[in-house]
Symmetry: C2
Subunit: 198 residues, 2 copies
Amino acid sequence: MPRPSEPTRERIVQAANSLFYSEGIRRVSVDEVAAKAGLTKRTLYYHFKSKDDLVAAYLAARDQPNLALFRKWFSETEGGVPVKVEAIFKNLARSARHPKWKGCGFLRTSAELANMPGHPAIRIGAAHKKKFEDWLRATFAEQGIADPLKLARQILLLLDGSFAVVLLHRDASYMETAGEAARTLIETAMMKPRRKRG
Amino acid sequence: MPRPSEPTRERIVQAANSLFYSEGIRRVSVDEVAAKAGLTKRTLYYHFKSKDDLVAAYLAARDQPNLALFRKWFSETEGGVPVKVEAIFKNLARSARHPKWKGCGFLRTSAELANMPGHPAIRIGAAHKKKFEDWLRATFAEQGIADPLKLARQILLLLDGSFAVVLLHRDASYMETAGEAARTLIETAMMKPRRKRG
DNA sequence: TTGTGTATATTCACTGGTTAGTATACATAC
DNA sequence: GTATGTATACTAACCAGTGAATATACACAA
């Protein structure tokens, strides 16, 4: 049944997403992913050439939705940039309190595959974080902040730090603490040598 | 050969440390650890009741040495607290440039075992980070900083964020960026409502 | 000094289960 | 009648944990 041909691959990626994210990549077998998608392993291997390929597809599918969510949280918040960025952390804290939350899929994958530095999935994760960093950098540059890249990286460090710390302690309040730090850093940067305005 | 009885267990933990850190917990088999320690799997299971037990011992062995290193980097640096804390990040960046560096063992373990929230190894990791946080908090409290716990957590977030980001991008300069952010946050906190002095 | 028992420490060989990936055949659509 | 897509059944390797036996050190009795 070739059918529209896309739903199958899509279903596999969704099953992979659900299982890899909640159980870990090495913990989940290809058979389990196939079963969750409602088909056989052999069919899965028709659509993906290897488990590594499937892992890469799993992360690639998380890239745009994640970025869109951050942008949405930013733009739907009233106020200046410091407050809008802090809102991302507050929303993230709310997500992190959900029992099914298990940290950042990109970071957990890079931790699990730390012995395979060139792995495609790690490249996808790195590109994802670079996109976020660049979006922040552009946002800060619009504000006339002196070194927008440095500030963007500092915010990214706080964000990824909160993913790691909250996963370890299962205490989402660290995310709000990170948000405060982010706001402080942005405010400090905006006070200094402004060229445009805030 | 009972012998002093300690070197064997010690050798096993060191072998586990080397393999789990560089390859990942789920990637390394108990047989591999035993082989690296120069004995049989059955002997390993005489000293440890399960692989989970061995994983916990692996992290427990990293706890004190890691903390001692941070304290050493702090105390051997000349200057005020902001500079001394920044020195931790600079030293960490130097470590991270070593090819065998693979991030923070505690964080990587919590990422790999994210589906087992109560795992003993995760508890050990959480306790380790709490010790570091508390040492920072005490240090900041001595400086008369208004909310030393909050500041300590913000520094911790930057530290763990740099572990995660540097592992993903393999770019240790993020650690120096995190150090600058830490210094900024500490300086900002010290400027405000000081009670003692710096 | 010699024999004997017991706790400690180690090995060999095995079990039962899992896993990534494949050879082959079958079905459907156009 | 060929492309696409799916399933059955298999391989070869790996892996956590165990059963049974053995070796050593040492305490104590003869």
